[in-house]
């Protein structure tokens, strides 16, 4: 096992990894930018190294700065967490060159799975279902329409050369396709200098269901069941759960097998996730490969809750060359878990990220409640990084028990001084669509007006405010070195020591 692990990340995931290191008797080394001098992940690690200014490009996204930090601290392994450089082959490669063990898959696997087209081709050859689509050889109007018809409507027409929604058209019938080809082609040509069109079956109101996989260096590959992540805003997940309310046991088995086949085909090692789109319900549901995430996921605690394993611990063991701690037969899904991501954002104004002081921050606790946080009361949330504050994971014997637990926990999770999505999450979990598990990736957008409706505070809240005006609860807010808060009275208050 390793002696010292550099954690190339910040926030809750860096805290999570430091905790696993401590349990394993491994020294943890945090890295921090100038904006994170007093951040929680720095306080909980055994030691910490400054890697640069607040701008991510010069700190958490700098391979050179991380390599220097690893060298200076004498680390023998590097855990990338998620986001930042976790899916950059360059980081894995640099680790190799510096004699560091990268806690993740080999660099060439990251590269292969990072290419949408390459990954799709690999999945096709491995027999994993992919969304039906092609770049028709015959690019004439008639050729495109024929291809669209063969795929089955509705069909998405888009630029073969690029993404980002440019030139994208939805055709629901032949006449539609014929009428849309021209404008799609023109837009593709102007955006990418290439009018070649790609036709793809449009999956209507899909669910996002992903399978956790884990592979070691000894040829063993297992899956740890699914997570349903259909509740998203801005294409980012906000609530995840397992089991998925949509999977039959047969479908679960088939998706698990497909994910293991995919991981094998990729030559995968360590923890990874195969994301699928799920179309339809019950025994008729079909699944299609979306992409592979070659890292630990934000929502991994959901899987930990229902399988009882420690995934970060297993990641470190596998990276150190040990065999996987479990066989497929030893893994089972027990009960239900729901994760809510707590963000500093304002749902009523388009989920705009928020910055400010955590004047009061109290985490819920109790049976079946886990909170992984990257902040503590008195911290200041800055503007430079992802506004994820914490993850609340509620688990119980059934989905309904887990849902009620999550709700009760959200209602005793005061975060004051900055706007968060806590109230929004309560409403979402209370909504009949969630209660019934009737989810798809567009459901949050559809429900947005009711989930963000303004409501008058109860009179008790006003009475509470009246008493707050006389008797004030004050905490010293830790200052951080960001220019945006210069002159703010909070930053001049006493600093808390490490």
């Amino acid at each position: 096992m390793f002696k010292r692990v550099l954690i190339a990340n910040r926030g809750e995931i860096a805290v999570r990894i430091a905790r696993a290191c401590r349990e394993l008797g491994i020294e943890s080394v945090a890295v921090y930018s100038d904006a994170d001098v007093d951040a929680l992940h720095v306080r909980v690690a055994d030691r910490a190294v400054r890697i640069g200014p607040a701008a991510p490009a010069e700190s958490y996204l700098s391979v050179a700065a991380l390599m220097r930090a690893a060298e200076d601290s004498g680390a023998d392994a590097l855990h990338p967490g998620y986001g930042f450089l976790s899916e950059r082959a360059a980081l894995a490669r640099a680790c190799e060159e510096h004699g560091l063990t990268f806690v993740g898959p080999p660099a060439d696997v990251i590269e292969r799975m990072g290419s949408k087209i390459g990954a799709r081709e690999l999945m096709r050859t491995a027999g994993v279902p992919i969304v039906p689509g092609e770049t028709p050889r015959d690019q004439s109007d008639a050729g495109i329409v024929a291809a669209a018809r063969a795929l089955g409507y509705p069909v998405l027409l888009k630029a073969s050369a690029g993404g980002g929604g440019k030139g994208m058209r939805i055709a629901t019938a032949d006449e539609d396709a014929a009428a849309l080809v021209d404008s799609a082609r023109r837009e593709a040509a102007s955006a990418f200098g290439d009018g070649t069109l790609y036709a793809e079956r449009l999956i209507v109101r899909p669910r996002h269901v992903e399978i956790q996989v884990f592979a070691d260096a000894h040829g063993q590959v297992v899956h740890l069941f699914e997570r349903e992540c259909s509740l998203q805003r801005r294409h980012q997940k906000i609530v995840e759960e397992s089991p998925s309310p949509a999977l039959t046991p047969l479908l679960r088995t088939r998706m698990g097998e497909a994910a293991v086949a995919a991981a094998r085909a990729a030559g995968y090692r360590n923890a990874g996730t195969i994301e699928f789109l799920l179309e339809g319900n019950g025994p008729d549901a079909r699944f299609y490969f979306l992409e592979m995430n070659t890292r630990l996921q934000v929502e991994h605690p959901v899987t930990e809750a229902i399988t009882g394993v420690d995934m970060v611990r297993a990641q470190l063991a596998v990276a150190a060359g040990e065999p996987l701690p479990w066989t497929q037969d030893q893994l089972s899904q027990r009960g239900h878990a729901i994760e809510c991501r707590i963000y500093a954002e304002d749902p009523a104004s388009g989920f705009l990220p928020q910055a400010g002081p955590l004047l009061l921050y109290r985490e819920p606790s109790g049976p079946g409640i886990r909170v992984d946080a990257g902040v503590a009361e008195g911290d200041r949330v800055g503007v430079h990084y992802d506004p994820l504050l914490a993850k609340l994971v509620a688990s119980g014997e059934t989905r309904e028990i887990a849902r009620r637990r999550a709700l009760a926990a959200l209602e005793t999770y005061p975060v004051l001084g900055i706007r968060t999505n806590v109230g929004f999450l309560s409403r979402l979990l209370r909504h009949p669509a969630f209660e019934q598990g009737a989810l798809h990736t567009g459901v949050v957008d559809e429900l947005l007006p009711e989930l963000t409706a303004d409501d008058e505070p109860p009179l008790a809240a006003i009475a509470a405010a009246a008493f707050a005006s006389g008797r004030t609860h004050r905490v010293d807010v830790r200052s951080s070195n960001t220019s945006d808060i210069a002159g703010d009275p909070w930053t001049t208050l006493a600093r808390w020591g490490r």
Partner: protein, 150 residues
């Protein structure tokens, strides 16, 4: 003691007594404030915290930002009331409204770009656009008003 508290468009006249009673709209409540920031009213508990302008209250799973109107001043608040500001350094991509436009709550007024994300600035309440304080392409700093809606 009489206090005037403001939430959105509504004002509340609250009378508090030294022995922990609050009267609002003819209703009397027993209030017990704890030193940890929690407040118990008729058996239910919430949390409060105050910074310069705003009293933050967490009650029944929701957070409310309530303002206190001080003294005899008739102004609703010292800050630009109804003005919207960027939460972080951002570039103004597009401005979608003009001065004099009527807007509904939730209408997108402008699009900012920061951290490679497009951030819509939405009207927090219905009103009329009184002033635009930025132009497309401007780099704007957090807290600086971009548009006034009243």
């Amino acid at each position: 003691m009489m206090l005037t508290l403001v939430y959105g468009d509504r004002e509340y006249r609250v009378e508090t007594t030294g022995d922990g009673e609050a009267r609002i709209d003819g209703e009397t409540m027993r209030v017990k404030a704890q030193r940890d920031g929690s407040i118990t009213i008729d058996g239910r508990t919430g949390w409060v915290a105050r910074d310069a302008d705003v009293i933050w209250v967490f009650w029944d799973g929701r957070a409310y930002e309530i303002q206190e109107r001080r003294g005899s001043t008739r102004r609703r608040s010292q800050s630009h009331d109804g003005s919207l500001a960027a939460p972080m350094p951002a570039t103004v991509r597009r401005i979608l409204v003009g001065v004099g436009d009527a807007v509904a709550r939730g209408d997108v007024l402008m699009i900012l770009e920061a951290m490679k994300m497009e951030l819509p600035v939405r009207a927090a309440a219905a009103g009329t656009v009184r002033a635009l304080r930025c132009r497309e392409g401007d780099l704007v700093q957090p807290g600086v008003p971009l548009v006034d809606v009243a």
